[in-house]
């Protein structure tokens, strides 16, 4: 399959597909971060995670229109406001859902699966009723358009660079929150042993609500970033939920480093294979590889070995 291309072309292809893979990697990491907190830490399988993502995308869409109509002068920075609003909206909805639904189901994982699946259907229909079945896109401010030419043949899109930068910042913030803050310490304690965490004075219900809210809020930010890459429809979240779970499970639930490694390998494999094979063939090969590795390492790539 490489025979039709010259050496220079191949380098350019690998560089650009590699970069496209990096953008996909950033999106994966952003999406999987929220899930890594909710699924990896709390053990809740949230089938509606994709819908929280889409909520963030719709909030961004609304914000862009408000800025266009009300204060066009500030349009170039609307995206930052939109991200904060997306975080708040998805996070608030997440906390409400935790309070109304999830907290009653912590000891019944299968019921959680069904309940959140139902929630995802409700949210999809809500989006359809409010925003219409058609996909919507946002206008990207001028400074995010276009691309940077590294050589004649290699160009990288600016919005891709922006998403990557955003991912690094959010990842660092989540890492610091989980491993350096009091809340993160309490969360890890609750995750490891809920009864004992209560027994040392941690209000586990409050921690659960904040944790779930944070995971959903990050999904909202991911959705916000997502609008720069693709358009948003009521069911767009469904396409990504499988990939996202794949990343979290492959990386080893609960490990942030594993999440990065798994998102990186899956996105790179997919992106480079996609150029030479068809999209579905690329997916089949990636999935096969992931399944094979998981058979050898059922706990995922990165796990802690400890005395129980």
């Amino acid at each position: 399959m490489f025979a039709d291309y010259s050496m220079g072309e191949l380098t350019a292809i690998f560089a650009m597909q590699g970069f496209a893979g990096l953008i996909l990697f950033s999106i994966f990491v952003l999406m999987a971060l929220g899930l890594a907190i909710i699924f990896g830490q709390m053990g809740v399988i949230n089938m509606a995670h994709g819908e929280f993502l889409i909520l963030g995308a719709y909030v961004t869409y609304i914000t862009s229109h408000v800025f266009q109509d009300v204060m066009p002068g500030l349009f170039s920075i609307y995206f930052f406001v939109a991200m904060i609003l997306a975080f708040i909206a998805s996070g608030a909805l997440g906390m409400f859902v935790e309070w109304a639904l999830i907290r009653h189901l912590y000891k019944r994982p299968l019921d959680t699966l069904l309940a959140t699946w139902g929630l995802s259907l409700i949210l999809q229909q809500a989006y359809r009723s409010i925003f219409g079945a058609r996909e919507v896109g946002v206008t990207i401010p001028d400074w995010m358009m276009g691309s940077v030419y590294l050589t004649d043949m290699i160009e990288v899109p600016i919005n891709g660079l922006f998403v990557m930068g955003l991912t690094v910042i959010i990842f660092a913030a989540v890492g610091a929150l989980m491993f350096r803050s009091t809340w993160g310490r309490s969360m890890r304690a609750v995750v490891q042993n809920r009864t004992m965490a209560e027994g040392v004075g941690i209000d586990s219900e409050k921690i659960d609500r904040l944790t779930f809210g944070l995971g959903c809020g990050i999904a909202g930010v991911a959705g916000s970033a997502f609008t720069m890459i693709g358009s948003t429809g009521p069911t767009a979240g469904q396409q990504y939920i499988v990939d996202t779970f794949l990343v979290v499970v492959f990386g080893g639930a609960g490990s942030l480093l594993g999440l990065v490694a798994s998102a990186f390998s899956i996105s790179q494999a997919q992106s480079i294979l996609e150029f030479f094979l068809s999209g579905s063939m690329a997916k089949v090969l990636t999935l096969l590889a992931v399944v094979g590795i998981l058979m050898l390492r059922p706990q995922g790539l990165f796990t802690l070995k400890l005395r129980k």
Binding site: T182, R185, Q192, T195, A197, G199, V200, G201, L304, L306
Partner: protein, 229 residues
């Protein structure tokens, strides 16, 4: 300091504790002895609010803590070292101790805790799960002390720990009591440890206290008869 009256607790339909009365004075160490299945752990869990009490009152000082959740009881001055230690194994030793600070609002672990357990200071960067059983037990006690309790509950702290460390632990517990003036309730099956550590020994059988005697002048033969299988 700890005042329990007519405490009942049940798992579903089967009642385990049938009306317990217990008074622990400030600075007193009480050992609760009994064979397996007599209700020691259930009593501890009920005092912590992990198992709900079906009747009775629990007071710490002036505060009635009967209906509160576990974390609220900790805020009211009860600390708990459970059977099997239950440390957070994936977290470092220091983080484990810091979880106990939650209700005090402090950021730093007070130095006197590491003074009591110097081995924890040496190992503060290690994960709790990689410690030996005796070290984990010390960690669990340190974590409980971090919440600055008035009453410390220990559930079978000697289980699975080598004899030399058991004697050391009795000394440490008395030292903690002398330094901090807190009350300690410890459930135990090992009579020698109970006699080493306690001011008063009570025996629980089938969810009722059947014997209550101060350490001095205790009828050892009678207590060990309760404990024999």
């Amino acid at each position: 300091m700890l005042n329990v009256t007519d405490l009942h607790a049940a798992y579903g339909q089967s009642e385990i504790l049938h009306g317990l009365h217990l008074n622990v004075a400030p600075g007193e160490i009480v050992a609760i002895m009994g064979r397996n299945g007599m209700g020691k752990t259930t009593l501890m869990k009920t005092l912590m609010g992990i198992v709900p009490a079906t009747a009775g009152t629990v007071r710490v000082g002036e505060a009635a803590i009967g209906g509160l959740k576990p974390h609220q009881r900790v805020a009211n001055g009860v600390a708990y070292v459970p059977q099997g230690r239950m440390i957070f194994s994936a977290m470092t030793v220091q983080e484990n101790v810091e979880t106990g600070l939650t209700v005090t609002g402090k950021k730093e672990v007070p130095g006197d805790i590491y003074e009591l357990f110097p081995v924890l200071l040496e190992m503060k960067g290690r994960r709790g799960g990689n410690l030996s059983g005796g070290q984990q037990q010390q960690l669990a006690i340190a974590r409980a002390l971090a919440s600055d309790p008035k009453v410390l509950l220990l559930d079978e702290p000697t289980e699975g720990i080598q004899p030399s460390i058991i004697r050391e632990m009795a000394r440490t517990l008395r030292r903690i009591r002398d330094q901090r003036g807190l009350s300690i309730v410890v459930s135990e099956q090992v009579l020698s440890f109970a006699l080493d550590v306690a001011d008063r020994v009570m025996v629980i059988e089938n969810g009722r206290f059947v014997h209550d005697s101060p350490r001095d002048g205790i009828d050892e033969a009678k207590v060990s008869k309760f404990l024999s299988v």
